[in-house]
Symmetry: C2
Subunit: 367 residues, 2 copies
DNA sequence: CCTGGCACTCTTCCGCCGGGAGTGCCAGAG
DNA sequence: CTCTGGCACTCCCGGCGGAAGAGTGCCAGG
């Protein structure tokens, strides 16, 4: 389609594009040939630069908001910049420390993620996103039940990855403390290492087996187990969106109408969830620019995100969302480092093995 | 100070003030004498109304943004309107149903409160606030410990008011499952009905007693108990602020500068917490208009809020915050009804007594 | 006590104009 | 062939002025 491959732009055009993107990122305004000539990096007159810029416009890397305005990078321009021109500015040791401390601070996964999203927002001055998808593929290490009120029981799931999830469920029958302890031991022994959907299916199959029909205790166990799994799973699909106010600082969205649109869009978390779920398949840092995705194409937003969790089983996504004109060179390493810090934290929790000296409970209440 | 008591305004002046406030609430604009004369409620010419309006201005109920603009109610004007003129429009049965359903839906207190705040925001088209203060005066019904990983233990507190709070804590020593069960039973038996700060003090006193010095198990129990109380208390001071985007709809805040200020102010939750904590002392529905409080005086905001929880021990505040020009006649019953629904819900949970048939554990591990 | 009339004030909107910034094109120099 | 200066053109933006509109205060008359 295009006359040349993306990568073999002439060196001069590359430099010009680089400079325009950089300047546009800091100023937010369209860049003219005169401004460019005066910046010192080129020994060229405005007229010559105009020719280069005109070429870049033809190739689709630049655009003019109107005749007689300077040029602004297009989505394609940003894409080229990110792929071939950008030099990531790595984080300072201070910044790393801040991230490490913040991640170390909390213990429960939801707290950690919540901190992460607001930290991300503060450090980037963009909107911070942290997403933890449904836990159906969540392999459990233990499952405990605690009585909380009559026919109200708290169920505590601990994942093999150290994640702890808990929820109060309402049951049809009352359970005594002893019963609950037995059930906890039984289910933990029987299903440790299984994912929630496997557990669910196995429990349902068990209801049909004759042995269960004659064991009242086992019946109760199965009923409680199914309730617990069904109640926990749909609930735990969390998205933290933090620091939406940072958008108010961006000059390109200073009119009330576009602010309204953006805030409403951010409130519709379902769309973001879909978007992040598709991202979840890819490994490594992802940058989605402007029209490259559903959410941002409307508002000229970009997303910088990366998976966290162990490589074998990713847990979710962290990232930022902000105007297309953002400092990718800083955002990329920031998101990258935070996601790695989170992954490390989760891996550590995984290593802290479950209490070792425990007697394994019997396989059936009757044995 | 003023020539007459607030309550004995002339009937005509009252009606005029009433009408001006009502019209200003719906339109958001300054009201002129002509508009008022044409509305049909007065058989008076604009000139006569002007005289009345001039009087009301002198009394401090109305103000002009500039000469030759209409009049706008002042804080005092709104205050008079709310105290003496407003007729609350009670909720429709449909609205009540929606609230009842939403409150019935969730079981865990934090979920209920979270739902409440976003429901409030949706139904009012204002910012919804729900506040639950620190739990130091929280009397517990039970306290359970569950092992979650080596030296990580989840502590589950159930309050006498049915509130469940849980937190993962890190301990210095590992505990076996059996130990944790024993500790749970012991602490629950020993401290059921006590408030958290009483528990804390008693545990600390116990460390000094000689009996504890010679009972290793008791030592461990005390250590764990103190850690649990210390970890849970500071954490649980929750404020839900939902639906900030609704401010974007209000025409009086359509410029980016004031939006910025407001969003930043809403982000500073500490100030709101202070404000709501002072409100917590008062019973019944509270309406704070414009300059009547710290937060709103800057931005011409009002707060409509009410305590929830049982009358004897209030749990927190629910309410809305929005521009001074809001439909108080609708907001008041809305907040009122929701707070009552929450209180009812919490009272119900209180009634569902804790599991009854449980054997009381021994008072000491040595007995 | 109410009313119509009148003069006055203040804001808002619109059209106009000039300056500034940037472009495209062209012809000439290296 | 490439770079450069010059020139005409386009478009945005800010300031100015005038007209319209809305509202007020005051006054005199019913």
């Amino acid at each position: 389609m295009l006359p040349r491959q993306d990568t073999d732009l002439e060196p001069r055009a590359r430099e010009v594009l680089h400079e325009i993107v950089m300047q546009h990122i800091t100023s937010g305004e369209a860049i003219g040939s005169r401004t460019l000539s005066k910046c010192g990096k080129f020994q060229l007159s405005p007229a010559s630069l105009r020719n280069v810029m005109s070429d870049l416009e033809e190739l689709g890397f630049l655009a003019q908001p109107h005749t007689s305005a300077g040029r602004v990078p297009t989505d394609r321009g940003y894409r080229f910049f990110i792929n071939h021109l950008m030099k990531s500015r790595s984080l300072s040791t201070r910044e790393r420390e801040v991230i490490d401390e913040e991640v170390a601070l909390a213990d429960q996964i939801d707290e950690v993620l919540h901190h992460a999203s607001s930290l991300l927002s503060k450090m980037s001055d963009q909107v911070g996103l942290v997403f933890m998808p449904t836990l159906l593929q969540f392999a459990i290490r233990s499952m405990d039940f605690i009585s909380v009120a009559e026919s109200k029981i708290m169920c505590i799931l601990v994942g093999t990855n150290g994640v702890v999830v808990n929820k109060v469920i309402e049951t049809r029958f009352p359970f005594s403390r002893d019963e609950l302890e037995k059930i906890s031991r039984y289910i933990t022994a029987e299903f440790a290492g299984c994912t929630l959907d496997v557990i669910r299916r196995r429990l349902i199959r068990m209801t049909e087996q004759e042995r269960a029909q004659h064991d009242a205790m086992l019946q109760k166990t199965i009923a409680l187990g199914i309730e617990a799994v069904d109640d926990v799973v749909p609930f735990d699909h969390d998205l933290y969106v933090e620091g939406a106010a940072s958008i108010l600082n961006k000059p390109e969205y200073s009119d009330a109408a576009s602010l309204r649109k953006i805030f409403l869009a951010l409130q519709e978390k379902e769309k973001l969830v879909v978007l992040l779920e598709t991202c979840l398949r890819e490994e490594g840092l992802q940058i989605l620019i402007g029209s490259e995705n559903d959410f941002t194409q409307v508002h000229n937003f970009s997303i910088v995100a990366r998976r966290y969790g162990s490589t074998s089983s990713p847990l979710g996504m962290v990232g930022i969302i902000g105007p297309m004109r953002m400092e990718y060179a800083r955002m990329a390493p920031l998101v990258d480092y935070l996601s790695r810090a989170l992954s490390r934290k989760i891996e550590e929790q995984q290593d802290t093995g479950f209490l070792s000296g425990e007697a394994r409970p019997p396989r059936s209440f009757r044995e």
